[in-house]
């Protein structure tokens, strides 16, 4: 178990090195979405996660280098009609898209392409959930009522106010910013979270259901913030974009 002090040292070291990504894990944890019947604990392998969500400026740089991802060129299959709709032009952020604000109005396909262009990938759900379980001082603060309340307060806030810039302190235990309180984030396996139960739902519509017997245990039901994420991500299709859905990248740890 790492102490807050070692975490601080790791953070200091990575900031000193100018690292944009920090190492997280390996570790065992209990996901609100158990991987299978009767399995409560799971392993997350060591991985590197972006400390901040991708910004408008960073995404603009990507679009400049990969013109097929301009909003006037990306096909509907890969990005819906609201893709980068808050930018003034295909290569122009304009006043509604601050350069340090998290990029939003991006589809899963676009986010995946961005990360791959950086030699990275989107984080998996379990990686995201593992990193997001941390408060500033604890790697797993999910049983901390005060911390939980703070996160819930964000969800209760009206979303009409403009988005803050990325990287507003405090960073969490690992030195990662904005996992809560700024935007929703795409994950690589957004479409693996809730799966229609194929073995019991023959003849039914393609309704999303919690997979297999992976029903939520009672204590997890209180983790509304994370459950909301799962419900939200599960409602998406890969070309959807929304005004408060962004992303960050991850890589395998070397």
């Amino acid at each position: 178990m790492r102490t807050p002090l070692t975490a601080l040292l790791v953070l200091v070291a990575s900031v000193a090195a100018g690292a944009e990504r920090v190492a997280i894990g390996p570790g065992k944890f209990e996901s609100v979405l158990p991987p299978g019947p009767g399995i409560t604990s799971m392993e997350v392998r060591r991985f590197l996660l972006d400390r901040k969500p991708v910004t408008n400026a960073q995404f603009l740089e990507f679009v400049r280098a990969h013109a097929e991802w301009r909003r006037d060129r990306a096909p509907q299959l890969l990005a819906d009609s609201q893709y980068l709709a808050h930018w003034r032009g295909p290569l122009d952020l304009g006043p509604a898209a601050g350069s340090s604000q998290p990029v939003t109005h991006v589809s899963w396909f676009a986010a995946k392409a961005y990360c791959e262009a950086q030699g990275a990938r989107l984080p998996t759900w379990y990686e995201w959930e593992y990193a997001a379980a941390a408060s500033e001082t604890s790697p797993d603060a999910r049983r901390d009522p005060a911390w939980r309340q703070r996160i819930l307060d964000w969800y209760a806030r009206p979303s009409t106010a403009g988005l803050a810039d990325v990287g507003a302190p405090p960073a969490n235990y690992y030195g990662v910013f904005d996992l809560h309180g700024l935007v929703w984030e795409w994950v690589l396996d957004y479409n693996a979270l809730l799966v229609s139960n194929d073995s019991r739902e023959q003849g039914g519509a393609d309704r999303a259901k919690f997979c297999g017997e992976g029903a939520l245990s009672a204590k997890d039901r209180e983790n509304y913030a994370v459950l909301m994420r799962i419900a939200f991500l599960s409602s998406l299709e890969a070309n959807y974009t929304t005004a408060n859905l962004g992303f960050r990248c991850a890589t395998e740890a070397k």
Partner: protein, 192 residues
């Protein structure tokens, strides 16, 4: 020499056909460049099916009950068409388990489920491509600990340009609305 010029001719014709093809619709599945490896080792690209209606779904070869049921339902759909309609159609099942589904596994799945007609493609594609194809088809799948997957049973019909025209997850019967679309799609004579 004769062969060479004939070959050259073919290549030129191929190029001019490609150049003259109307632009792909923005919502065509063929916007994705999905490189398949079929059970016979051939390497078709999914967008080479452009020009014909296509039935498509996803599976994994070690799947006990439900993937054979999806395959069976696709064959039932074909069987409900006229021979002429059937000739126009291509049917595709792509594995979402490329780590395990090698050519032998694909071949066995095709044999066991009677998918060996040349109109069928039973294939695999690399993991990154699996994710994209599944996302575009709205196909959801989740690996279970200890092997196996929980997954959707969606069968999709694409028109000649690769645009999704209907989806069904109904395995209990032939979804009437889906069959109406499939029948209409396959009624247009396909250019050979």
């Amino acid at each position: 020499m004769k062969y060479l010029s004939a070959l050259l001719m073919l290549i030129l014709m191929g190029t001019s056909i490609a150049a003259n093809a109307p632009a792909l619709p923005g919502d065509s599945l063929y916007q994705l460049k999905v490189k398949l490896t079929a059970r016979d080792g051939s390497r078709p690209r999914l967008d080479q099916l452009r020009g014909r209606p296509v039935l498509i779904s996803m599976f994994y070869a070690s799947c006990g009950g439900i993937c054979p049921a999806v395959a069976f339902n696709m064959r039932r759909m074909e069987a409900a068409l006229t021979p002429e309609q059937r000739q126009n159609l291509r049917s595709v099942m792509v594995s979402f388990d490329p780590a395990h589904d090698d050519q032998a596994a694909l071949g066995k799945f095709a044999r066991d489920n009677k998918l060996e007609d040349p109109r069928w493609i039973v294939a695999r594609t690399p993991l990154s491509s699996v994710r994209e194809l599944a996302a575009a088809l709205r196909f959801r799948y989740r690996e279970l600990p200890g092997g196996g997957f929980s997954h959707s049973t969606i069968i999709t019909v694409l028109d000649a340009d690769g645009v999704v025209r209907a989806r069904t997850s109904d395995l209990a019967q032939l979804d009437p609305e889906f069959m109406r679309v499939l029948s209409a799609m396959t009624s247009t004579k396909v250019q050979p």
